[in-house]
């Protein structure tokens, strides 16, 4: 459609190295091509790089974009810049990571991150059975600024596992003795490995590892391997990228909550196109304050009471 040619959208991700965001970008690019609109993609240098995202938002405003898709690194701090964009008439959609407050964006297309955490928590608890009472858990979180996605997954996991989360808006304030400790990973391999090592040194008997995402899980696995613990520790994660699902197949990760970034990207681009055409705003999922793009637990060792799909099914749905 020719009238779409001057419509443009922006995609701003946390980094452009995490395969999740690489896929998200590809998905958005493809959707944009199909719709006949222009897409400009920007990213922070590292997970947590807030200023670069602000600069990118401003660039999108200057560029006369119709809307912005953003996975925010600092979910509170980004709000001012987002408000500025909305005031300038742009549609702002949070992808993957809700803003704080969530209604600072016009819409949010995301995994239900709390549910994603809860699923792997429930699965891990059921997997251990009786032993869950004596578990030794390592929590590999994202970053010290505790962005919403970080808190939701962590607290979801603990809830699913049956641990009191104290303040649900904050990780690290729990006092359950089963938690060996929290450490941050920046959501990448290097951080995952060092954090895992630190926690192992604290307590070599760790047998459950929660990880914020699959790159961090991969790093944690390297650490466990170097300590000869790769076979007797349960790693759970979130993402469901093809490499991650392959890791589940290989028994490296016990279970992972699969997200659908291509869906987020596609929906986001479509929503912007729609908005540019007639000003329609996207709707939320029934009963939620965001549009839930869905989450499925991927494992080959299903447990009672927790819905899951097989690795084979997971591989069909996976991305990257």
């Amino acid at each position: 459609e020719s009238h779409m040619a001057d419509v443009s959208a922006c995609l701003i991700t946390k980094t452009d190295t995490n395969p999740f965001f690489v896929k998200m970008r590809e998905g958005a690019q493809q959707a944009a091509e199909e719709m006949g609109i222009t897409l400009n993609a920007y990213a922070g240098n590292v997970d947590g790089d807030h200023e670069t995202q602000v600069d990118a938002i401003e660039t999108c405003i200057a560029n006369g974009a119709s809307g912005i898709l953003i996975t925010a690194s600092d979910t509170s701090a980004i709000v001012s810049a987002v408000t500025q964009a909305r005031d300038a008439g742009l549609l702002v959609i949070a992808l993957d990571t809700p803003l704080n407050p969530i209604d600072a964006a016009d819409a949010t297309f995301a995994t239900d991150n709390f549910l994603a955490g809860e699923l792997i928590g429930q699965w891990a608890a059921a997997k251990l059975g009786e032993e869950a009472a004596n578990a030794k858990i390592a929590m590999l979180d994202l970053g010290v600024s505790q962005p919403s996605v970080d808190v939701l997954r962590d607290q979801g996991f603990l809830t699913g596992f049956g641990i009191d989360t104290k303040d649900p808006n904050k990780w690290g304030d729990e006092d359950d003795p089963r938690i060996v400790g929290n450490d941050v990973t920046a959501g990448n391999e290097e951080g995952g490995r060092t954090a895992m090592e630190n926690l192992l040194a604290k307590d070599p008997e760790i047998n459950v590892v929660y990880t914020i995402n699959e790159p961090a899980a991969a790093g944690a696995y390297e650490a466990l391997k170097s300590f000869g613990r790769e076979n007797d520790v349960l790693i759970v994660s979130v993402d469901g990228g093809c490499p991650g699902v392959a890791n589940v197949a290989d028994g490296i990760i016990g279970a992972t909550s699969q997200q659908y970034p291509l869906e987020m990207a596609k929906l986001g681009v479509e929503a912007i196109a729609q908005y540019a055409e007639d000003g329609t705003l996207p709707e939320n999922t029934e009963g939620k304050d965001f549009y839930d793009t869905g989450v499925k637990l991927v494992t080959d060792e299903p447990v009672d009471g927790v819905d899951s799909i097989s690795v084979e099914e997971g591989q069909e749905l996976c991305w990257g």
Binding site: N40, Y42, A43, G48, D49, H50, E51, T52, V54, D55, A56, E58, T59, I61, A62, N63, G64, D74, S76, A77, V79, S80, A81, T83, N100, P101, G143, V144, S145, Q146
Partner: protein
């Protein structure tokens, strides 16, 4: 005391030059005249580069770039680095370097925020406290450099870590939300206040940055303190002997630098709306980059503070221009890297021939 001997060496060289000058050819070529002009006006090279890059991106991008809106957006995007670069310039003029600028900036902004929200101190008082903390950090740097005679690079490498750790520990990594600040202590966001003239949008922070740099330029040129800063950067031993209180001047420079960084922290709240202890991580490298591209010598005593404003703007023009072109952000870094090396190579060339 390398400065002592540098001076000696220079004077010996000068003397030699004179004795031989008698039989050397003296008519300057046009190229030499250009070099001379560049030598006496150190901010000229970055200014030319700045204008050239605006013209090039303007040609490539048309009105998307060459509009009051986009051009003033650049000002907004460089304001933090620009303010910090002013602080960095002062320190570098004394032949020092300050790696802790970013940490002082964030720590000060966190103090402003936490004092308001944790202790319920009124906004203006909290801001004053933040400015005082920045100045105190600068004092610590200055004291270690001037009194303990430790190398600035190492001192500020150390205090960088110390201030940043203090910032995280004190703030408990807590972001203070823009909405809360707006409700309780809007003065914290003062530097973010906007006004527009035509399509051009200015913020208080941008006005502050420009005023600050013009003001510092004036002070450096028209007050005794300013002359002393240049003198001690040029040759600390000579300055001391000719009556400059080197230690006091040095400490005052680091304190002023700390204060300016605290203002940058205030401006940072205005820019991002919230108080975020994780911001400004790269401010030290970015400010040094601006200063270097701006033509201030890392060896001290030479260069104009206007240059670092131009340096910061050049980086801003490249960043926005390339982003608008849809180029991968990495190209910006690539070109900035090339620009840094080119800037110092040109500088070397100017010095060599006009020496």
């Amino acid at each position: 005391m390398p400065t002592d001997t540098d001076h000696y060496e220079t004077s010996v060289r000068e003397r030699r030059a004179e004795a031989v000058a008698e039989f050397a050819d003296h008519k300057p070529s046009p190229l030499q005249r250009v070099q001379h002009a560049l030598h006496v006006t150190p901010a000229l090279v970055p200014l030319i580069v700045l204008l050239a890059s605006i013209v090039v991106f303007g040609a490539l991008l048309g009105s998307r770039f060459f509009s009051p809106f986009a051009l003033t957006l650049i000002l907004q995007q460089v304001q933090i680095v620009g303010i910090v670069a002013a602080a960095q310039s002062l320190v570098i003029l004394t032949a020092g370097i300050d790696l802790s600028v970013g940490a002082i900036m964030v720590l000060s902004s966190v103090v402003m925020g936490q004092f308001t929200f944790r202790y319920g101190i009124p906004g203006p008082v909290a801001v004053a406290c933040g400015l005082a903390v920045g100045t105190a950090c600068g004092f610590l740097n200055g004291w270690l450099v001037a009194r303990m005679k430790l190398p600035p690079f190492i001192v500020t490498l150390g205090t960088w870590q110390i201030f940043l750790a203090t910032n995280y520990l004190y703030s408990a990594n807590e972001t203070i939300r823009a909405q809360d600040i707006e409700a309780t202590a809007p003065i914290l966001q003062f530097f973010g206040a906007k006004f527009s003239i035509g399509g051009a949008v200015f913020t208080v922070g941008v006005v502050f940055m420009i005023t600050l740099i013009l003001g510092l330029g004036w002070v450096l040129r028209h007050t005794a303190w300013g002359r002393h800063v240049y003198a001690l950067g040029d040759d600390a031993e000579a300055a001391q002997l000719s009556g400059v209180d080197v230690k006091r001047t040095l400490i005052s420079v680091y304190m002023l630098s700390g204060l300016i960084c605290a203002f940058a922290g205030w401006a940072l709240i205005g820019r991002i709306g919230s108080v975020s202890p994780t911001s400004g991580y790269d401010a030290n490298i970015e400010s040094i980059t601006a200063v270097v591209i701006g033509g201030i010598s890392l060896f001290g005593g030479r260069g104009s503070i206007m240059g670092s404003l131009f340096g910061a703007l050049i980086v801003g023009v490249f960043s926005l221009g390339l982003r608008l072109l849809g180029a991968d952000a990495q190209w910006t870094y690539f070109f900035i890297g090339v620009l840094i090396i080119a800037a110092v190579a040109v500088d070397q060339w100017i010095r060599k021939v006009s020496a």
